[in-house]
């Protein structure tokens, strides 16, 4: 039996685009254990939201993550609209969904590029990122910005779509669909690419369900779960789309699921643009004070299900905003899926969940973990411990 070597990676490492720390136990070339340490990106945005009003919160929540910025504002808007009991105009919902799907396209294209880069296929990386600029142009045409769109507002969206813009996006769509066909071909038939991703980072269907994975990561393990269909929101009930799943259970499956999802996104964008209803794009009157109550909203972000919990207390500011980003749900399973692979597979295996640590780093939670001797300390216990510590070590006794 080979000696177990401890291999720390991070917080700054070429394969990590964001700061996070991974600890791997390796025996020879094989990984036998993986742990992670996150929190380098924790900024405390949930706390900041409590000091801002609902409209200012939109700008804060948009900056949780630059890649899926529209997801977080959509989820937050939906929760707030539930609290307000608002009925949204159809056109507003359609425009919101349009940006959702464009964002999914740009996020998945970005991921395909990063994944290609991690396996050393740099020419594909460059090509994909060139085509991604088409989507960025469309987003810039709609919202005026490339990354943080500031498109959502409570009760609808902030800008209307002119007929000229609509035609421009439709024109951009066709070349993109052609390119996607090419990438589907590369993803499924290029032997050198396949050799790097097939059978790597395996996660069985049962494991995927047990570990509560979400998004394309779960769908690539055969879990048929998609918040767009299961928890209808925005304009998704009106649209026709397939939920892509794959039984491959490895990184190959994750590539396929993401590429085919992009094709579905293109179809949805076409449906939205063709059937864009007339009318208002934002609800005419929105109260600034949000009634007391709590609401949860689900949203299928590019990386999986994004959950926002908003509690209002009758004022202009939310009492509590809680964000459960999709990467948080997937990280544990990612560590599990790496076990059994080789050291050379670490970059692509971790990248295969499309990790986004700025989404993830919300708050630290210590779970009851009897095995490692960790447990939750209650407030009372902490108080008793503090008094006791000072009595023993400093001689302070009241």
């Amino acid at each position: 039996m080979a000696e177990t070597i401890h291999l720390p990676i991070g917080p700054q490492h070429p394969f990590l685009k964001e700061p996070a720390k991974f600890d791997f136990d390796i025996q020879g070339e094989e990984i036998v254990g993986a742990r992670m340490n996150i929190g380098y990106n924790h900024r405390g945005l949930e706390k900041l939201c409590e000091e801002r009003n609902y409209y200012q919160c939109l700008y804060i929540l948009e900056r949780i993550c630059g890649i899926c910025s529209h997801s977080h504002t959509t989820a937050f808007c939906q929760a707030t609209e539930k609290l307000l009991g608002l009925e949204l105009p159809k056109r507003g919902l359609y425009l919101r969904t349009l940006v959702c799907e464009l964002e999914r396209l740009h996020s998945h294209l970005l991921w395909i590029g990063v994944a290609a880069h991690e396996v050393g296929f740099d020419s594909l990386f460059m090509l994909v990122w060139r085509d991604r600029e088409l989507v960025m142009d469309a987003l810039e045409a709609i919202s005026g910005n490339r990354v943080n769109y500031a498109f959502n507002t409570i009760g609808g969206v902030r800008r209307d779509l002119s007929d000229e813009q609509r035609k421009k996006i439709l024109a951009l769509l066709q070349p993109l669909i052609d390119r996607l066909e090419y990438y589907t071909n590369i993803g499924s038939h290029e032997p050198s690419f396949e050799a790097r991703v097939r059978g790597v980072g395996r996660l069985s269907k049962q494991h995927a369900i047990d570990m509560c994975t979400v998004g394309p990561f779960a769908r690539a393990s055969g879990v048929d779960r998609d918040a767009r269909r299961d928890a209808p929101h925005a304009a998704y009930p009106d649209l026709e789309f397939k939920v892509i799943t794959s039984e491959e259970c490895d990184i190959f499956g994750r590539v396929l699921v993401r590429v085919l999802e992009m094709v579905e996104s293109c179809k949805m964008i076409k449906q939205i643009l063709d059937g864009l209803p007339e009318g208002d794009f934002v609800a005419p009157k929105v109260m600034r004070r949000v009634p007391a109550g709590a609401a949860i909203s689900y949203y299928e972000a590019p990386r999986g299900e994004d959950i926002h919990y908003v509690r209002g207390n009758g004022t202009e500011k939310p009492e509590r905003v809680k964000v459960r980003a999709p990467t948080m749900a997937n990280l544990e399973a990612a560590c599990e899926s790496v076990v059994g692979s080789f050291v050379a597979d670490i970059p692509i295996a971790i990248a295969s969940i499309d990790p986004c640590f700025s989404c993830t780093d919300r708050t630290s939670v210590v779970l009851n973990d009897r095995r490692r001797g960790r447990r939750v300390t209650t407030w009372g216990e902490l108080r008793t411990y503090g008094i006791d510590w000072y009595r023993r070590n400093r001689g302070i006794h009241f």
Partner: protein, 139 residues
């Protein structure tokens, strides 16, 4: 003459290291987009490196969270002289949207000396190219 040669070499091929010091990813993907074929920062000789020991310019995005500050300091110390730091984005310049959060510092310059600031939330790739070109002009 040797000094002149050194200066020329630095100006013609600055190698950059990108470090996310607590940003929201937006500036990071724009930095990457600037290095990709569409904007092609590489035509100025700018090359993205993976380790601080090879880098001349540190592109810092993010307001520097408290956890990352000591690591940022260490990465800066690992870079060979002469070294330049570019604060990319409004939050790296001054804290930006995250100003007032309990876990962030107000800008990268609280931790390490900064040579150039590129404001914007997020920056556009054009802004990054402009900023880096201006920095190279100063060298």
């Amino acid at each position: 003459m040797f000094e002149g040669l050194k200066r020329w070499a630095r100006k013609k091929s600055p190698w950059v290291l990108h470090f996310n010091s607590g940003a929201c990813n937006a500036c990071d993907i724009e930095i990457l987009a600037a290095l990709m074929p569409h904007y092609d920062l590489e035509r100025f000789g700018v090359l993205l490196k993976a380790t601080p020991r090879h880098a001349d310019v540190l592109l810092c995005s993010g307001p520097a969270t408290k956890q990352i500050a000591p690591r940022l300091q260490r990465i800066y110390e690992q870079m060979p002289e002469p070294k330049f730091v570019v604060a990319v984005g409004a939050c790296a310049c001054s804290g930006g949207a995250f100003r007032g959060c309990y876990n962030v510092l107000e800008g990268v310059d609280q931790v390490i000396p900064v040579s150039a600031y590129i404001p914007g939330c997020p920056i556009k790739p054009e802004a990054l190219i402009d900023g880096v070109a201006k920095l190279l002009g100063k060298i």
